[in-house]
Symmetry: C2
Subunit: 406 residues, 2 copies
Amino acid sequence: RVDGSRLWATIHETAAFGGTPAGGINRLTLSREDGAVRDWFRDACLAAGLEVGTDALGTQFALRPGRDGARPPIAFGSHLDTQPTGGRFDGVLGVLAGLEVMRSLNDAGIETEAPLLLVNWTNEEGSRFAPAMMASAAHAGEFTTADILSRRDAAGISVAEALAEIGYAGEEPVGARAIGAFVELHIEQGPILEAEALTIGVVEGGQGIAWFDGTLTGFESHAGTTPMNRRRDALLGLAELALAAERIALAHAPSAVITIGEAVIAAPSRNVVPGTVRFTIDLRDPQAATLDAAEAELRAALGEIAGRRRLEAELTRIWRKAPVPFDPRLVDAVETAAGALGHPHRRIISGAGHDACNLAGIAPAAMIFVPCRDGISHNETESATPEDCTAGADVLLHTVLALANG
Amino acid sequence: RVDGSRLWATIHETAAFGGTPAGGINRLTLSREDGAVRDWFRDACLAAGLEVGTDALGTQFALRPGRDGARPPIAFGSHLDTQPTGGRFDGVLGVLAGLEVMRSLNDAGIETEAPLLLVNWTNEEGSRFAPAMMASAAHAGEFTTADILSRRDAAGISVAEALAEIGYAGEEPVGARAIGAFVELHIEQGPILEAEALTIGVVEGGQGIAWFDGTLTGFESHAGTTPMNRRRDALLGLAELALAAERIALAHAPSAVITIGEAVIAAPSRNVVPGTVRFTIDLRDPQAATLDAAEAELRAALGEIAGRRRLEAELTRIWRKAPVPFDPRLVDAVETAAGALGHPHRRIISGAGHDACNLAGIAPAAMIFVPCRDGISHNETESATPEDCTAGADVLLHTVLALANG
Ligand SMILES: NC(=O)NCCC(=O)O
Ligand SMILES: NC(=O)NCCC(=O)O
């Protein structure tokens, strides 16, 4: 069993890096705050006797050797970056529970057959740079390192520049480390476990995700002198699109969700009819076919709106992550561990994307969920109980031990 | 008659200050570019033998003494600041035509009875600081100088700081100069004169304007895990409000116009349901009663949307400018000048706000419009012909002479 109070203490100690007055964390990937928590994590891993390395995308690895150095390590972890309105558990729990697993094994003097590898993946959140789960995707060969290094944030700063800025452009080539299996502990970020009073979610897979960048272009004109029927107002076009997106998602209820999370008027002024609006769309569904159908419906709606309002429309799909099924043997291993520890559990599909979904492309992967209050995440009020965090870390420990010694 | 080619040359010479690649001007009030064009204007006035002064809000005055120093000067001018997507004529024409009037009188050796006063008003546009026509309103006693100095832009910089930054915090108390009458030449910024092939608009008054700051607050949540029916999406609330505003304006057709020119998601992220959106509303109508009715309808729509979507809504009216009728005697003087010069003309109501609307509160005021291409303004493609600009400057010259010698 892990030391739950030590785990809880590290969760709250690291919450100071980027901590917000409202009790959340604003720690965008590769920011100064992210650099500080990385330093903390490196030092903690070194203090636990782990061998620490960093790859060219800043992902941090901490290895605990096993008896059989020829076996690929059993890996686990998550991410320490957060949303701008992030909470204390999303990602953080998985990394610090992994650290707690290492510390607990040290305390108990347990040696494993396979080596163990704790990972802090760069830019899981996808808020500062797109796509989300960027570094694990590159590790799994979905993008080249050069491609990812060239991605830019809204201020025009590239991943390469941001890595250099905080000193986390590592030496290791991306994807060089073989991984025998990957297990990720995470808060559910949804309401199901809490509603059913369960402690553990045995995650069977992740739903599909499509991300889009869009632009609507009309014509800037005077707010006082341009009659309503002569306007080409890009914001009104976006307004119709946002409501159409909501209708499309509801038409594929209850599974599909569509979100316009960013929308920016290019040259905003109170007395100018908006001429250009740039926006993003996030579309998800567990079924690939529904993802495709909803995308077609979004494009049709955008075309109709743009035509009627005399706007030019552009919509580029910048990312598509197909639905991911996890490895049945690993899912069973998680379920067995939860059962052996006596934690009430159920199988569940992840609504969020996770690094484990990328690792699933190159190794057996699975996830462990614990409940969070009201299903709230990507919000500063995100909350989970110490008991549930401890239970999740225990399931992680037992799953990892079963895999490393099996 | 003025020297039309000299006027045209100054319009294009000053367009270099803040000139954009698309041929427009981005010269927000009290910006570095605004400071540079002010320096140019001061030097040009000094070279024309005028007595130059600046008030505490940065408004520039250039006096040409008359035979009767006891008479309050006949004032004219407009503004040299622009929108972020501004054109070459909005405001600029009125100031530079005023300079051309001074130069032409010098060339012809004409002395007037009353002194003449050319004015470049600070922050007519209202894009960087609210409200529009800020300095002329303070001159007319609608706001105190201290109040205006404390207004802040989106970056938090106050008017006082911005004035100091470009060295235009002048010595003169605001409103200290008596003004006998005010005449402003401006492009129409609407389509009427062009459509009717007329050269001069004899402006009878300006429509009413109300400006609002609004906030919609919902709850940030995860774009992948939050079911559509559990969301409190502030952007969807704004989308409905924008479309309701359009419907309300159309219900008061053809006169009322409503514009949401600024809309900002507080903590934007692709995979976060927007929790807070801040926005502005610009509402106009020539009738005060319609202004009030439309405001009530906007508030009702916002309340209904917020209630249904479980959002909190705030809407603050930060400015209300009642419809302004110009002085009948001055309007007649403009019409007489246009007729005497043989320019086809009609009476017209201004859809835009102008400094003359504020001056009307303390002195007889009137305006002269010339056509602009397709009625386009607050856009980099704003355009007017040299012939129309010259005609407008000639009408200004004749009106001013009639008033100063009458
Ligand atoms: N777990 C998580 O919130 N990941 C961020 C990527 C996503 O939007 O699903
Ligand atoms: N003339 C002009 O464009 N003034 C700006 C203030 C307004 O929006 O009417």
